[in-house]
Each structure stands twice: as structure tokens, then as C-alpha cells.
Symmetry: C3
Subunit: 520 residues, 3 copies
Amino acid sequence: MADALRLHPDRFFPPDRAERDAARAVYDETAGLPIVSPHGHVDPALLAEDRPFPEPAELLITPDHYVFRMLHSQGVPLDALGVPRADGSRADVAPREVWRLFCAHWHAFAGTPTRAWMEYELHELFSVEVAPSADTADRIYDQIAERLASPEYRPRVLFERFGIETLATTDAASSALEHHRALDADDWNRPTPPNGAADGSAGARRVIPTFRPDALVQIARAGWSDHVQRLGELAGGAIEDYDSFAAALRRRRADFAALGAVATDHGAETARTGWLPEAERDAVFARALGGAATAEDEAAFTAHMLMAFAEMSADDGLVMQLHVGALRNHDRPLFERFGADKGADIPVATEFTRALRPLLSEFAGGTDRDTAAADGAGRPPFRLIAFTLDESTYARELAPLAGYYPGLVLGPAWWFHDSVEGMLRYRERTTETAGFYNTAGFNDDTRAFCSIPARHDLARRVDAHYLGRLVARHQLGLSEAREVGRALAYDLPRRAYRLDRPAPATAGGAAHARTDGVLA
Amino acid sequence: MADALRLHPDRFFPPDRAERDAARAVYDETAGLPIVSPHGHVDPALLAEDRPFPEPAELLITPDHYVFRMLHSQGVPLDALGVPRADGSRADVAPREVWRLFCAHWHAFAGTPTRAWMEYELHELFSVEVAPSADTADRIYDQIAERLASPEYRPRVLFERFGIETLATTDAASSALEHHRALDADDWNRPTPPNGAADGSAGARRVIPTFRPDALVQIARAGWSDHVQRLGELAGGAIEDYDSFAAALRRRRADFAALGAVATDHGAETARTGWLPEAERDAVFARALGGAATAEDEAAFTAHMLMAFAEMSADDGLVMQLHVGALRNHDRPLFERFGADKGADIPVATEFTRALRPLLSEFAGGTDRDTAAADGAGRPPFRLIAFTLDESTYARELAPLAGYYPGLVLGPAWWFHDSVEGMLRYRERTTETAGFYNTAGFNDDTRAFCSIPARHDLARRVDAHYLGRLVARHQLGLSEAREVGRALAYDLPRRAYRLDRPAPATAGGAAHARTDGVLA
Amino acid sequence: MADALRLHPDRFFPPDRAERDAARAVYDETAGLPIVSPHGHVDPALLAEDRPFPEPAELLITPDHYVFRMLHSQGVPLDALGVPRADGSRADVAPREVWRLFCAHWHAFAGTPTRAWMEYELHELFSVEVAPSADTADRIYDQIAERLASPEYRPRVLFERFGIETLATTDAASSALEHHRALDADDWNRPTPPNGAADGSAGARRVIPTFRPDALVQIARAGWSDHVQRLGELAGGAIEDYDSFAAALRRRRADFAALGAVATDHGAETARTGWLPEAERDAVFARALGGAATAEDEAAFTAHMLMAFAEMSADDGLVMQLHVGALRNHDRPLFERFGADKGADIPVATEFTRALRPLLSEFAGGTDRDTAAADGAGRPPFRLIAFTLDESTYARELAPLAGYYPGLVLGPAWWFHDSVEGMLRYRERTTETAGFYNTAGFNDDTRAFCSIPARHDLARRVDAHYLGRLVARHQLGLSEAREVGRALAYDLPRRAYRLDRPAPATAGGAAHARTDGVLA
């Protein structure tokens, strides 16, 4: 007989009664809040076009590297899963066979967040009531396929069913943003806010882009000049030197902001920052245009551009996000056959204290500077949100930095660490030095649209777990814990990313009184 | 209505009943023990002069970088808090306004040790019964101000009320020690010990200095030659070369010891140790005297001086403390305006295994050496107490080193890690390899005199928490757990720092039998 | 009165009732399973000769660096413990005095795994019922000595009493393997398997060797040429260049495999891997033969040889084990007097992501390669089992690598981390990314034969603890948790090391149904 698939109402809470009761009370406060998703990788075409989803394997397995990397580690070839190859071809496998492979390896996911998210999706979204296995694979496949054919499973219907308030995508700086332009012209993307006031703020849009210029900074890679050329075309002027390059970036940032963008996103292997002297900067850029940039040129130029992007953010108010510490495409032969984003990006030890000093020291101090003129202009202060894959930096570097610099906010537990123990470690290692209010709440960071509510639910439960522990240890009163829970789930991501809509009423019912001071 | 401020009797204990009951039993054993504070930064003038404390903000906010760094991170300028600037000036703000800013940001401290310490101080010391907030700020301010005016709040009265047995301050090697000289002439500083025996040991003093020579080692910094000149004056001889420098340091160590010092303290960015060959050492010192020392000179000379100080400790018996791993004054513009110790010291990754090898290999082996002559002299064995800000070194480097070398003892969780989760991580990562008896008990390390009992209470509660867990998991019997708890709270710091007074009777009442072997 | 020594049936389980009940249920599943010990350091002479054990100190104290390093850290000289010196001499101390020293320092082991193992051995093996102390030392000594004299305490009787199915020793590549040859000729070493089928597989032996060639790779050390000469003699051909060296290694691997070896073991300070170009490789080897290899030569050659050994493993199917990150013989003066393995090996920070990339990328990808020819040959796929002393690499590097590469399996928590908290951290940091099925189960890694059942019992209890937590948090159903527990205790080590005997029936009674897919 097949094992039942159920979602226990106390899942992910601490088993101790005092802790669990407090965790429940905090979760009651946050479970019904809208989803704010200020950082992720959903394809904007999905919501711009609103086409039905394909069958189960194409929806849940093939595009999700969390899923197929685990199957690969257990000896399942990517070709057997129909994962697209670098040359655009694809092994000829039936989706149902892919689904069967996944179900037969369900045991391999025991104890992982993928298991937790998938259980949520199968049960909550598709009403599956048996655990995947070789025996149940076909039954589940058919059930999901049937649902996907119904209009209630169209992307926009799900978007609203999920309770998503804002969803940010991630878009190359040289993207034409055609889907965001389509969304901009679509009434669906600008709903009347709950309080009736059409405030026109960025937060009033449902789907917004995020400016990601990494490919333009990687001056030693093969495709760089193509990206630069495309940037020039989109920004309306040929790029002949560093100055025209920087000017084009500024114009493109304005294009993104006009479509609702509130943030930029930057990925790099290290957190190194620092201005290049002008002459050197120009020489490096010239070498890059000539196709002769070296790896060290790229590293130095990346450090320089992080300073330049910080300066642009200080000017245009886009929040700057920095994700560092992954060595991409570790498995070279597989990269040659299948290309990037195949689960083979592996973290490395990361240094922030020295690396970020130039940037933070110049831009993130925020107060007590000789910057009266700038402040007088009424611009929002500079803000950097930093993410790490090296957990040893939480307590050692990032929490001390965020607990000091007004212009630095900690992004949530990222990627491999977006899990029960991973999120608990994040709170345990950052809260005592940085508090809760120097963190940015949760990011789902996902390409898998259907996993968004599963991921936010897990995060809210784990934050409730942590807060429940503080209450049961008498470190925090329950009413303050509920307050903090609400901030983590809703108020802080909105504040961190400047999505300034008025807060909706609490889903739980009773209005929740807060002093304005808390999240000013 | 304002939230109540209460201290739950089970605060910081594990919520599970079996663990909590055992934790309570351990804490019952330790709660009433005298406070031994062998490492801290209280100004000795406070107790030498015994003047009344000023008003609340000056006592609790302005001098405490734990407090004002968090406010700064939330956008409050240091000038708005009246923090003194580097040039000696100070923004003209009313103390009551400073206090209001602190209370309005009380939420930012949720989950931090500063919150825990402050709750203890407000409630236990000043009988405050409402939580700070914008609404309650004035009421609390007035209540504390009123208490401070009373003779019961004079420093020496509080010292005794806190149950402090020994308090070590930290004093520059080139300090004239005028306050410690005054204390030395003051009967208050040499109380009759509980058992009536005036034993004349270092531990018989209440307030003692600690020898900190860092400024004399930083040969590439601007003020170095001033410190050297002052050292020469105090030690009675001009410093013209390395030999006269070393001789002066030895004389000054003797001066400190004569005033009760039992230890030295050394801070450095890294743990690098190693002798310079004589010729190189002399050349570096000559360059320093000529104002031409480089950064690498300073690093190499620091490594050399740690060896030299270890050799001096092996001779004069002063316990050597080493604190490494903080990058000082990370925020350069703020450092220029406000100077050092403004909450902008940020940890960096630290290496101990290779760095300490020369020092430990030469001085800390302690047994099985060809050192019969030295041992025969009856001198106490060399002892180094090491502190880290990089928790990844606890289980990887420091516990394995301390669980091997007889001359190495682990200092407690330090600075950012002096917190509930931080202290639990410390015990979880060090105990299984080094045991409890290779650790030094607790240090409060504080400048904030009124926080001393709060910090020791928290540490005793967290150690009781950890021990309660071991009991509930059947890893340790309750009577042995109580024994260990008492060692951590009282016996081990006294042993580690050689404060050899006879142990007082247990505050809890019944005498507590121990074999002498345990702490010999 | 002496404290009682008892073993609580719930020891090491979580105290919370829901967690503990689930932990008990998992442990019920695993407690009676046979012991698979695929990596350790027991002397094969012990079982080849089956002589009685000597007295208690020689059995439990003198050869166990876990025990004597802690005593040494508390100031007990190694000579006082009768530890053999490098020159073969030994201080003249009575074994009973050694035992007394150990018992008098019993408190120093509070909270350590050595305490837990020793309690198990004393109580389960020797029926000791009082805790060691100065008072009870003699009584316990006599009791153990009496038992050791009985035939029921001979090594082979204990081997069977412990329920050991397979025990791998670790043997130098240049060992003559005389004890393993004796065992090979001994019926005791090839029992009839439980199901009656004498399958002739490696797993059908009780005691097997492991190929450890480290001494042959350390080309800059004094004794290297002796090892090489010995290798040549054993492999039947003089070693004159790299090619004859590599050929001799291959022949010796075949010798080990013929005696049942299933694995090789490699220790290095770092995880650096990478081929040397042929000319450079030959030049380095020639320099080594000439006695002129440098430290950098050795490091580069070690990196090269790890590639070469991986290639050999891909050919002959021996599982490759890699242990890195210990700085050996930290205390130089003690090393000169007492030699290696005296508790002074100290971990260092370790990097895997970049260091292992050449090896994993070439050998561990396993699928989706242009290796149809090789796969067609029916050889088992390459497998590396990696161990670390740097826990910061669990979640950051090793779990992401093992959760991706089919040819990489994670070894268990190693050495200093083979402890309650250490094993919990291992599961907490690896499971969410790599799952359970990319780990190798438990290794006892011990020289102390009598500690084998203690160590396996502790590991099974801690895995039950972790699984009980997942059940109580509703992350895993109880029946799946029991399944996983069984895999960790028995199936996974057998799979990881290719010990392919049919699984015995569950000791607990009821047969335990599993799909074959899980551990195919």
C-alpha cells in the first residue's frame, strides 16, 4: 500500500510544547499575509503570456536544478531526465518516464527542503494524497496532468491564489524587457490596492524587473562584446570607452526603473570592491574591447564596477543586491555538454570584511558624514543587501557589519541554506549581533513558480520556530514575537526593497497595532 | 499601556522539562557564587575615586558601543546620541533626548544580549518595571536618575552589592597606574578574606591591573614613539635599542605585578608568532625608532614580541592573554570624525594552528621536555589564554590545541559571541575535544560597570543550560554537572588566572564536597 | 561512596518526549544490526594471532591518543603514562599507577566522547559498576585484569560477541601483509554467511586490508627511499622511474585486492589534486630519487598522485578514501622525544571546491560522458569517499559536491568530530543538500579494538536522535525514518565500500521490507 502524503499543521515547529505553542501563535500571525517576492528567477513571459503549464515533468523536474542534481548524484543521467543540452538538443525521453525516475528516487530527498517544497506543491496545489514511489508514479502523473489542463491552473490565476503581492524577476541589463513592457501595458499588472488608493509607487505593480548587469562586467569571457554591443543598441549609443559604457548602464537602469524595478542584482565569485584609478580603468576597458582582457583584469574590473554600481544606486535609489561565493560549472565535461545552471555551482569560502570595506566605508555609513548636500536632496539613502553561501561569515562578518552600517541589510539564508536547519542557523548566527531589523525578510530566489508559496510557507514556519524558542526561553514576550514574525514575513522585505504600499489588514482577523516607529 | 518588564526565573534555560529542571539545579549551585572578573575594561578611576554616576544616558548609552552601534545601524547618527568626537568636541544634545532615542529603538535589540543585559540592569539595579518605549522613556529616565543620586548607587557600594571578588582592569603598559596606586594604598582594596586569613596573594585584592603593551608593539603607527618615550620614563631608562626596550618592558611588568596584576593582555589582527633573528630584530627596531617601519615590519615584529612576551611570562608567571581577529575601525570616515571603539571593529577569518605553533611548541608543552632546570625553580608553568572571534576555529583548531597543550587554556566566547547562542556554540564546539577543564570560565570583558552582574548571570544561566542538556541526555550525572557548573563559574577563572584565595562556602547553603584533584 | 556507573537506555537521545520516542523506535531498528567497520586502524596481528590482551592500562590507556592527550593537557607527562618513546625506550612506571592517573582525571573527560566510549566499555564489556576515581581505581583495575585473563576475552571471541561482520584495517602499501596472509589461510576469516551461500565476494571475509600508500608519496621526507625500495621488492621489480613506480603500485593494489581489500586510503594536508605534465612529473620523481625533492615538489607530486590513484581506482574498482586537513606533530619537541601519533595532530582550514575540481571533474561525473566504452566494460563506477576535519566545509563545499557528483560519497564525521554534537552537526549540515543516501554511514576509525561496539552504538544513537527530531518535526514519517536509520547503520557502508553480502534479517525480529531500488 502506498504511504499517505499529508502536511502536518505543526510541521517544522519545535516539538517541545511551550516552544511549539509560541511558534503556532507567531505563525497564526503570518500565515495569511501576502507574499512579497523581491528576488527570484521566474520567467516574466509566464505572467505576460499566461499560457497553460505543460505536463508534470516539464513543470516540476526538468527545469529545477534542486531536483535533477540530486537524481544525478544518485546516478541518473541528465539525458534520462530530458534536460536540454547546451546545443539545444534534448534526449528523446517520454515525460512520463522522467516522472517515474523522480518518483523512484523519492527516498533520496528525505530530509531535504526539496522534499518539503514538493510535498507542499503536490498536496496543496494538486491535491495529491499518496507519497511518490515507483508504484504511485503514474497515478500522480495523471492527476497533475489533469489539473494543469484546467483554467484554474493558469499562471495568473495561481499568482492570485498564491497571494503574491509583488514578484520581482531577474533580467539581464541587456534584455529588451519585452515581457515587462507587455506587462506594463496590462491592467492585470496594476491592481487597485486593498485600500483603494492607486498610489503609483513601484510597489503598486504585481510583476517587476530587476537589473542584472553581470554579463557586462565579465570582460574576459567569450560573449562579453556581444552583450556590450546589445547594451549600446538598447541605450541608444555606441560604446567606445568606459565613459560611454557607464552612461549606457545609467540609461538602462532608468529604463528598468520606469518598468517598476526597485533593485539591481550582482553576482560575483568574491566580494572584492575597490575603485580602479581612472587611467588603469580606461586601459582595462580598452583591453577588454580589444578582446585581450585577462582573468585578473576581470577581477579588478568587477571590484571597480561594484563601486560604480554603488555610486549609481546612491544616485538613482535602486537597492543594490550582492550575491557572492559560488564557483560556477564545477563539472567541466558536463558543462560542455549541458551548459550552465545544471546544479554544478559549488560554494567557496568567502571574505567580506576586507573585501567590502571600500564600498561600505564610502557609501553605507550614511550618517555623520560630510554629506549634508546629498542628504538635503531628499534621495533615499544607499542600501546594499548582501547574500552569502559561506555560513561561517554570518556571525563573523556579516552580522557585525549589518549591526553597524546603516546602509547594509542582510539578505536571507541563500540557495543551499534555504532550508529548515539552514534558516535556523541563519537566525542563530545573525540575530544576536544584528538583531532582526537589519535583515531583509525572505527571498524565494526560485525559477520554479509553483514552489513560491511552498518556500514562503516554510520560511514563515522556520521563523516562527526560532521566535517560539525565544519566547519559551523567556527572551522575548509573545506579543513582541508576533510583531517580529510579521516584520520578517512582510514588513521588512517591503522596507528593504522600498515597496511602499500601505500594509493590508492582518489575515488572521484582528487588526494589529504597531507603533510607526518600528519600521519607519 | 506599557509592556511589563519582568525577569523570568527560568530565562535562558531550555524549555524541555527534564533539561530545565537540571539547568535549574546547576544554576542553584552557581547563582550565589562571588563574581570573578579577570578580564575587563572598567576605568579604575571609578573605584579609586568612588564618585557618583552621572545621569542615565551617560551611564548606559553613550559609552557602550554594543548599544550605540545598533542605533547607528538603524540610522541614528552618533551625534544625536552625544557620542564624543575624536577632537574632543561633542554634539549639544540633551541626555534625556539620547535616552528617548534609545527607548524608541528598543525593538531593534530584540533577541540580542544587549537586550538581556539591559533588562537585568533596569529591573534588578533600578527596579524598572516597564519595557522601554517612546511612551515610557521619560518615566524610566527619571526613575534611574533618582536612584543614581542616592549613596547606595556609589561604585564601591555597587561593587559589593554585585558580589565581585576580583575585578581586573586593562591598562596600557605605558600607563602611570595612578588609580591602581591609589587603590593600593586604600584599605577598601584589601578586604579580609571570608575565612579570615590575609594571605597576601594577588587574589586578595579587589581591583587589579592588567598589563597591555599593544601600543608599544605597533611600530608602524603614528603615536608609537610617544608610547616608547613614556615607557622609558616610567621604567627609568632611555630606550635606544631593542635590548633596552625589552628590559623596560620587564621592569614595567614587575610594576604591574606589584600592584596585583596576574596577567598580560595582547591584541593583534592575526595570531602569527615567531622569533626574528637577532640582527633582523635589531634592524626592524632601528627602523621603527627612525620612523620608517613598514606594515610588514610591524607584523613581523608583533609575531616576534608575542614570543618575547611568552618568554617573559614563563619567567615572571604573569598569565598571557591573546585576543586576535578584529579589523579595527572598518568605517574610515567615521573613524576620522569619532575615533576608535565606535562599534566598527569587524572580525576576520583567523588561523591559529600554524600561527601559534612556534609559541606553543616552545613554551606550552610543559611536560616531557628537557626543562628540568626550569621546573626545578618552582616557577608556575607558562600559560596562554586564547580568544577568537572566528567560531569556525573552536572545534577545528582551538579545542584540539587546548585539549593537547598543558600551557594553553581557552578563553570564553568573546565579544560578539558573548550571547546565549554564542555561548552554547562555544560549549558545543569545544567541550567534546577539550573538555570543561581546559577552559577559563567566564570573562565579562566590559567597560560598562553596571552590566557586570547581568553578564555573569547570563553566562551562568547558559552554562547551566548546556549542562542541563547533558544531564537530560544522560551524558552527565546531576551531581557532576553541578560540580562542573561551579568550576565554570568560580574555580576555573581563579585557577586560570592564578587568583588563589581559599574558596568561599557555597552561597546555596550546604557545603560542597570536592576532591582536591579536580582543580589542583 | 563511589558514584555508580550506569548506561541509561535513552542516553544520547533528545529529552523531548516526541523526539525521544521516535529516536527509540529508530534505534530499535538498528541496535542489533551487525557492525560493518570499513575503515579503522586495528592491528591485524590481533586477530591473526588471537593472543590474550595484556592488563588494563596497556589495553585502554597507553595506545589511545584520545585518552592520553587529555591527560597530557591537564599536566600529566606522557612518561608518567608509560607511553613509548621514539627511541623505543619507555619510562619505568607500573601499569597500575598509569591506571590510577587516568581514574584520578576522570572529571577531565566530562562531556567528551572518550567518556561515553569508556563508560560503555567498562560497563558492557567488563561489568564495572562504579565510576572511575582515585578511590575506585584499584578496584576497577583488578576487575578488568581478571576478565582479561579469561578465554572469553580473547580477540576473536570478542570480535564475534561485538557482532562485527567486516573489519578493514589500514596497511602501508609497502607492508608485506603477513598477518592478512595468515588470515587468508584461516577458516575463521571466511565464515559461512547467514544465508548459507559462500559467495566468495570481498564482503565474505571478516578481516580485510586497506591500501595506504601515503609514505610512498611523501617524496621530500627522510624515509621515502626506503619505502620505495621495499615497494620494489614486494612488487617484484626495481623502481627506477615514475613508470616503474606506478606499475609497482598497480601490482601491489592487486595483491591487496586478492586478500579482500575493497578500498584505498589517502591522507594529505590539503585536498589539492591535478596532473603534472609528463616531463615535469618525471623530473620531480628523478629529483626525489636523488634525495633532492623540495616541499613544493612533494605537494605537487601528491596532487598528481591523487589523480593517478583515482585513475587506478577507476580501473581496478577499489574505492578511494581521502582524509585531509591535519597538521601532523604540532609539538616539535614532543615529536622528537615521542614520535608521531601522540595527540598533537591539529586540524587546519581546508578547501575542497577548487582543490578537488580536477579529480572530480575527470573521474566522478560518471554519467553523460563520452565514456561509453569504459561503461561498456562493466566495471563499477569510480567512487571517492571524502573526510574533513574542517566542519565549515560540510554545508559549504562537501554536501554541495556530494549532492551533485555521482562518484563522490561523504565519509562520516571524522576524528575530533566523532562525538554527539559533532555527528549532529554533520547531519544538520549535510542532509539538507546531499540527503542521507550520498553519505557512507559510520566509520569507527579506531585503533582501540574494544571501543568498536561503543563507537558504533554511539553513532547509531546519534543518528536515531537526528532522525527522531525529523519525525517529531513532521519532516519524515516514522517508517521512513527507520528505513533511513537502517541504511545509515548497515546498508550504506556496505554499498559505499562494495561489501555486497546479502543483508541479514533485522535483529529486532520482524523482517523489514524494502524496495530494491533504494540501495541499488
